[in-house]
Amino acid sequence: MSAVIDSHGTSHGHDDHHDHGAPAGLMRWVTTTNHKDIGSMYLWFSFVMFLVGGVMALTIRAELFQPGLQIVRPEFFNTMTTYHGLIMVFGAIMPAFVGFANYLIPLMIGAPDMAFPRMNNWSFWLLPPAAILLIGSFFAPGGAAGVGWTMYAPLTSQMGPGMDLTIFAVHILGMSSIMGSINIVTTILNMRCPGMTLMKMPMFVWTWLITAYLLIATMPVLAGAVTMTLTDRHFGTSFFNAAGGGDPVLYQHIFWFFGHPEVYIIAIPAFGVVSQVIPAFSRKPLFGYASMVYATSSIAILSFIVWAHHMYTVGMPVAGQLYYMYATMLIAVPTGVKVFNWVATMWKGSLSFETPMLFALGFLFLFTLGGFTGLVLSMTPVDVQLHDTYYVVAHFHYVMVAGALFSAFAGVYYWLPKWTGRMYDETLGKWHFWLSIIFFNVTFFVQHFLGLAGMPRRIPDYHTQFTEFNVISSIGAFGFGLSQLLFLYIVLKALRSGEKAADKQWDGADTLEWTHLPTPMPYHTFENPPTIK
């Protein structure tokens, strides 16, 4: 953000006479409408879900450590792949970025809170019941649904009551996302402080404005898809039931109409965090701000017209395959613009490599690699060969873990001093980064080779020729999982005994929360909006 900031009327003490602090006790968290409280709850919730989904991932990797069946039954293995995906996508990554949005958007645009604080409270408190339904489905008769996170028909019509619980969970999660998104769009459109024009907003705010629109446009489509699944299961309809005149391939079309934009719903806020962190540690404004805005918008728009690249093998006409191939490849253009802009931001900057910057750079390298394998998979003839192999698994973990998750880590380390008023341990933070990036690559890089060699995904057993790479991948996975406990320790240590952080802990930071607010922040901020020239 390159706006010149006017400090009159917003001195640090100004907000103090409004600051009556937070009410005490458990009810504070249940009833809170404060965007900072809700942001914190989102972040803690997503971390808990991250651990739950992580345990499922490790169950998968433990079973795949050796060929043959050792630890779990195949049906249970299927439920692990299913709920690992669902929980990580809907329970961990998405709520993490919604947490960032809640905490940071009002601060970055100089607003006192979100537009609809009560609805904000609802958005969050819908999540725990959804999580309980998801995890509760394991205790339903017949167990949880082993259908894959994509919940394809006709498998979904053959599952027990665990499937229904999962469908309701998806409904609730969708409702929460839509409410949260409505709140974010309204806040950004209506509550910017004087002088904060759209094109002066920090990039993170821009990315969330675009993401929120994507969510409002696609979550209802997913809700529709699972509703049709539900009526097929219980009310005699045949949307996806071939024996009743329906078509299971139709489900895939509806699902991926949501599913592909969903990829960007996760990735775009990650772009936003990185677009704040890289300039701060390069001590230069973001290169090509306007082109970043346009690139992000075009990625969002293009994401609606490429969905069937997930379905090259369903038997669509060649013309369809060609169209989806070229349209998908087109997305590489705006994505490339973004990557070059980040690199150009660092060009001739006075760089320093604290933990947030390390994670942002890890994001930059590995997300780009994941983007390239995505480009490989966009080619129909190649995809027909690699469809549903570990190459695909490797590809989307590069963009989801090394992309979105690393960006979230960068964001937590970057804003933790502001949020808590205390610094994290820089040495331990660097340890966390290096352990994460090394173990991440140990886990997932070899999966490219497994996929190229033809190992199918979502199968608990494999041919002995795949053993070595699977051993390596499993060792990496356990290393990666344990490294995340270090992250928890770092955060708790910072909360308990971290050094006091400065008002502007990072000298390159230029957004309002750093330039206009004291550290630690008062409970209420910007009740009198700052003015930006």
């Binding site: 209506n190 904060m196 309809t237 329906g246 509806i254």
Partner: protein, 192 residues
């Protein structure tokens, strides 16, 4: 809207306006998901991908019978949540590609009420589907059966001689389901 409206009431009414617009957008997109169902049927019909309820047109009217080759056809019949007896009179036939063949199914409504049923064909292996030409089939219409009624109904077909040499056996499978309660999707299918 670059600045905060001075009056809080003004702001909250501006917020409500945005809320309403976005909520409408969400509701419309929920409907859009369902609109994809007929849209998909239409696309498939136009592209000729899924014309399960239509007689096949023969590209070449006087197809040569390929006497050098025999294909074994197996007939399978199922019902979907429907108490009907549904059986082919012969389970298995050997035919030459290009040879016009008829097979008869016997269908009995075991329920003591009138039922409207619809049969859906499917083929195994799937790459045989486009070479299995049905000229007459009870699956082209909905079938109304009175309580306890029994009827024999034919399927007339021929196998396109372009059938890949690797396919020696084709399974034709029918599933009958009751139309009531599924009117919407079947109607969409029937429209084709």
């Amino acid at each position: 809207m670059t600045s905060l409206p001075a009056d809080d009431r003004l702001l909250s009414s501006a917020n409500r306006t945005v809320l309403r617009k976005l909520a409408v957008m969400a509701v419309v997109m929920f409907g859009f998901g369902f609109a994809l169902v007929p849209f998909y049927e239409k696309i498939c019909q136009v592209a000729g991908i899924r014309n399960v309820f239509q007689p096949d047109r023969l590209v070449n009217e006087n197809t040569q019978v390929d006497l050098t080759r025999k294909v074994s056809i197996e007939f399978d019949s199922n019902t979907q949540r429907l108490a009907w007896s549904f059986k082919p009179l012969e389970n298995h036939l050997e035919v030459h590609p290009g040879e016009l063949t008829q097979v008869v199914y016997e269908i009995r409504n075991n329920l003591n009420r009138r039922v409207i049923g619809q049969a859906v064909p499917s083929y195994g292996p799937s790459n045989a589907a486009e070479h299995f030409k049905k000229l007459e089939c009870f699956c082209f219409q909905q079938q109304t059966f009175e309580a306890g009624e029994t009827r024999r109904m034919p399927v007339t077909f021929l196998i396109d001689p372009a059938l890949p040499a690797s396919v020696n056996t084709i399974t034709l499978s029918y599933t009958f389901f009751e139309v009531a309660g599924t009117q919407a999707t079947v109607a969409a299918g029937k429209g084709s």
